[in-house]
């Protein structure tokens, strides 16, 4: 029995559960999509990924159909490309953007990348536009549906992946709006501000409000790191522009989180640039903590430690390390305790 199919004339092995789209991309075919996010069930909405399958009267949405044995698939021909181009023209006309804020700040968005590939301009078909901008004072998610293409990735990620059930398409047809039911603002809705809607958005409709206007894409570098809050250890990318931390994007390759984040990891990192940060050592003088140099502070500290050790021995010391600090600091603190002060009185704050 055959366990292969043919895509664009090439023989392709069948893999359990793999869609035509995934298989086609695996063997190098460039199939455009706008509504596809591999983490949620395909919705087959954008209809850009349609391909021809022998024996089927109409082209099929490759994202939503498994590649099966003996299937003969054509991912590209003049007719398919012409219709894809028309759909792109239609989509671009639904909510045309003069200046895509995503392209400017995050780098070319999926929509405008495709538009460039297909040489399509946004004002090709004039007509009514569908998007509206909700009055939403929430401090995290900037929602501008005048840049929305209603691909429903945000609502699917919210409902299927996060299961937060905060936003949903309301109404029907061209009048469909993305809403938080009964709430104009996401504040007060079911939204947990995980920010995953922003991360899946293929246009500038959903943006990180905290990062908005902070930098242009060319100036941003992303540094991989790990979220410093709970024990899950989600992967994050610290976005840095001109030496300043400006915000977080998920690390899609992180094994524990696979691109997911919660409100703390997504929007809670800016404590690091708080004006409350300590910037110099402080020493208590006349009962008051006052700024000091490192040399002053550490001289004082070491003198005291030497004195106490001489007087009372290692048992007079207790060191409590931090379950929030990196392991290297923890290791050296216990080395200070065991190897230098000579005490095993080293503990950490994991009990609280």
């Amino acid at each position: 029995m055959s366990v292969t199919a043919t895509i664009d004339g090439k023989s392709v092995d069948i893999r359990e559960g793999e869609s035509i789209l995934e298989a086609a991309r695996r063997c190098g075919a460039e199939v455009p999509t706008l509504c596809y996010d591999s983490r949620v069930d395909p919705s087959a909405s954008c209809r850009l990924c349609v391909v021809k399958v022998d024996g089927r009267r109409l082209p099929v949405a490759s994202c939503a159909h498994a590649l099966t044995a003996d299937m003969n698939v054509t991912t590209s021909d003049d007719e398919l490309e012409e219709n894809r181009k028309t759909i792109l023209k239609l989509v671009l006309s639904e909510n045309p953007t003069e200046e895509c804020r995503s392209c400017i700040e995050r780098g070319p968005c999926e929509l405008h990348s495709l538009a460039t590939d297909y040489g399509v301009e946004s004002d090709y078909y004039d007509g009514a536009i569908s998007g509206r901008i909700p009055e939403d004072s929430n401090p995290f998610i900037a929602r501008d549906y005048s840049q929305c293409i209603l691909c429903y990735r945000c609502t699917r990620v919210c409902n299927e992946l996060e299961q937060a059930h905060a936003i949903i398409p309301e109404g029907r047809g061209f009048g469909t709006n993305i809403v938080a039911p009964f709430h104009e603002s996401l504040l007060g809705s079911n939204c947990t501000f995980c920010g995953q809607c922003i991360q899946t958005c293929p246009t500038g409709a959903l943006m990180d409000k905290k990062m908005l206007g902070k930098a242009v894409a060319e100036d941003v570098t992303k540094v991989r790191s790990i979220c410093p809050f709970c024990g899950t250890g989600c992967g994050i990318e610290l976005n840095v522009a001109k030496g300043e931390f400006i915000g977080v994007t998920p690390d899609w390759d992180a094994p524990a989180s696979a691109g997911s984040l919660c409100v703390k990891g997504q929007f809670g990192i800016d404590f690091i640039r708080s004006p409350d940060r300590l910037t110099t050592p402080l020493v208590r003088r006349d009962g008051v903590l006052q700024p000091a140099t490192w040399d002053e502070a550490l001289t004082l500290l070491v003198d005291k430690f030497q004195t106490v050790r001489a007087e009372s021995g290692p048992g007079a010391f207790a060191l409590w390390s931090s379950a929030r600090a990196p392991s290297e600091g923890n290791f050296l603190m216990q080395k200070l305790a065991r190897a230098v002060l000579g005490t095993n009185n080293i503990d950490n704050c994991s009990r609280t």
Binding site: L34, P42, S43, A44, S45, C46, R47, L48, V50, L58, P59, A61, A64, H65, E79, E82, N83, T86, I87, L90, V91, S93, E94, Y125, D126, G127, A128, I149, L150, Y152, T155, N159, Q163, H165, A166, I167, I168, P169, E170, G171, R172, G173, F174, G175, T176, V179, P181, F182, N190
Partner: protein, 542 residues
């Protein structure tokens, strides 16, 4: 909130219950529904806000409006439609046009909206199958139905317990699904029968939402037991004990009729262990698409599903499901009674059986008619429908309601069967025919059709959601509402092509067909409109 735990598909009944109590649905009601149904409130909100006649995400239940359908908007019938959103979706009263929703009641020109008239007398020489008994007074009641041979076929099927034999018969009869796609009934039932599973469903698509189509309505109103018997037979054949009739919102009287008939049949014990329920829609054309219908029953937004899997494999609640429309089901008992050969030969030429056609618009005797499958448009219009209005000349007609295509008078001798319309890239569809004459503007008619598609597009897929609007806007321009663009025909063609090929369901695929007909067969009238002239004098130019 009423206990609906025994319901096969509790969402729609519970939504109706909830709507009875509030003018605008509150968050509390929504949450109560969510808890009772164990469906996230967000999904219920999305689903409920979708329907024309729900009050979720809207201020109130829609209770007033005139029909915006193609028949009711023809000159001399109703009013010329203005802007999108105006006018209600066709409520299937095209033979009583103009129709309207007034005080929450759908009514046409008939005196009593709750007592629809039986179909007009049969055409001489036509042997009726579906309408054979329909004019018998009191047929709604179990006694009268039984006195005319009702439930005999169900009894025989149960007694003989030979499902294969039934399927063999149905295959021999050549009966194809009358919902539009024309899939062989026997093959469908066979597929469900052979799909393993303890629980299966029989679902009737009584969501007759196609404009210009009103042929299931008399069956539902006047001969409910025929449908009930037919579905029970289907249940027996495929191994399903649960059935659901998905009834369109616009047929409220049928809801009572069906429920009473089911109760009567159950009380008399004729249904055995087949448990049949009626779920009322809330106003949505796309729910006539079978996978949207299933989503609607499940309380999900009624966007179409991708196929495969087909409902025969994964239908209602993911279980094997027979889904047929009213007309298809109702053909079964007669086939079983009188034989496959008899039925097959009722049709013309290669076609098998009879077809219910609806004819409306500019004809003398609009109505639902049963004719041999394959009767020509001329027969339907001139013989059954009484021909054009006095002094008028027929200019053209739509088929499949409006979703099968648009033809000109020169095509009147085209057989209304499955094969002939395909030569034009068209389809028989529901068998509805809307007739227009020299007093009508074909461009304006096409625009009315596109307004309908725009209003009914579910919004899931890009080509349909945006394409219907862009096409209608270009038709706006042609009919004098804006300046037409220079490359109008190119735009029609390319948008239409993308919609037909790439749309997710039949709505978007079929929506451009009327436009194709316009471009191909009414080029002169189209060109006149581009020059700012409406030959029929219907359109007013800026």
């Amino acid at each position: 909130m009423a206990d609906r735990t025994g319901s096969h598909a509790p969402f729609l009944p519970m939504l109706h219950d909830a709507m009875e109590h509030t003018e605008t649905m509150s968050e509390e009601t929504l949450n109560a529904l969510s808890n009772a149904l164990r469906i996230p409130a967000s999904y219920i909100h999305q689903a409920a806000s979708f329907y024309h006649y729900s009050n979720l995400g809207k201020d109130h239940v829609l209770r007033e409006g005139t029909c915006g359908g193609p028949t009711c908007c023809l000159p001399g019938v109703g009013v010329r439609r203005g802007t999108p959103g105006e006018g209600i979706a066709c409520p299937g009263l095209c033979d009583q046009a103009p129709a309207a929703l007034a005080g929450g009641v759908f009514r046409g020109t008939a005196a009593d909206p709750f007592l629809p008239p039986p179909p007009p007398a049969s055409v001489d020489g036509v042997e009726e199958v579906l309408f054979h008994d329909i004019r018998i007074p009191g047929l709604r009641s179990l006694d009268v139905y039984r006195a005319n041979g009702g439930y005999e076929q169900l009894r025989r099927v149960v007694e003989q317990d030979d499902a294969e034999e039934v399927i063999v018969n149905l295959r021999a009869s050549g009966l194809l699904g009358r919902g539009g796609a024309g899939f062989p009934l026997a093959a469908k039932w066979q597929a469900v029968r052979e799909t393993p599973g303890d629980r299966k469903y029989v679902v009737c698509n009584a969501d007759e939402g196609e404009p210009g189509t009103f042929k299931d309505r008399p069956l539902l109103h006047l001969n409910p037991h025929l449908l009930i018997e037919s579905m029970a037979i289907a249940g027996h054949v495929v191994g399903a004990t649960a059935g659901v009739i998905y009834l369109r919102y616009e047929y409220p009287e049928a809801y009572d009729v069906l429920n009473e008939a089911i109760a009567e049949a159950e009380a008399a014990g004729v249904l055995g262990d087949f448990d049949l329920q009626v779920a009322r829609g809330l106003g949505s054309y796309v729910c006539g698409e079978e996978t949207s219908l299933l989503n609607s029953l499940e309380g999900l937004v009624p966007w179409p599903r991708e196929r495969p899997p087909f409902p025969t494999q994964k239908g209602l609640w993911g279980l094997p499901t027979v889904i047929n429309n009213v007309e298809t089901f109702c053909s079964v008992p007669a086939i079983l009674e009188r034989g496959a050969d008899w039925y097959r030969h009722l049709g013309r030429d290669e076609s098998a059986g009879t077809k219910l056609y609806s004819v409306s618009g500019r004809v003398a005797r609009p109505g639902p008619y049963e004719l041999p499958l394959g009767a020509t448009a001329r027969e339907l219009i001139e013989v059954a429908g009484g021909g054009p209005l006095p002094g008028r000349a027929i200019k053209g007609y739509t088929i499949g309601g409006i979703s099968g295509g648009l033809l000109a008078a020169e095509h009147l001798d085209m057989p209304l069967d499955y094969a002939a319309p395909r030569q034009h890239g068209f389809a028989l569809g529901s068998g509805g025919v809307v007739v227009f004459d020299d007093a009508c503007c074909v461009v304006d008619l096409v625009r009315t059709c596109m307004l309908f598609y725009e209003a009914e597009s579910c919004g899931k897929c890009f080509p349909c959601r945006v394409g219907t609007v862009r096409l209608r806007e270009r038709l706006d321009a042609l009919t004098g509402r804006a300046e037409p663009s220079a490359n109008l025909i190119d735009e029609f063609n390319e948008i239409g092509a993308a919609m037909s090929a790439n749309s997710a369901c039949g709505l978007g695929q079929a929506a451009p067909l009327v436009l194709h007909g316009l471009v191909r067969f009414f080029g002169e009238e189209l060109e006149a409109h581009r020059q700012g002239v409406c030959p029929a004098g219907v359109c007013h130019f800026l």
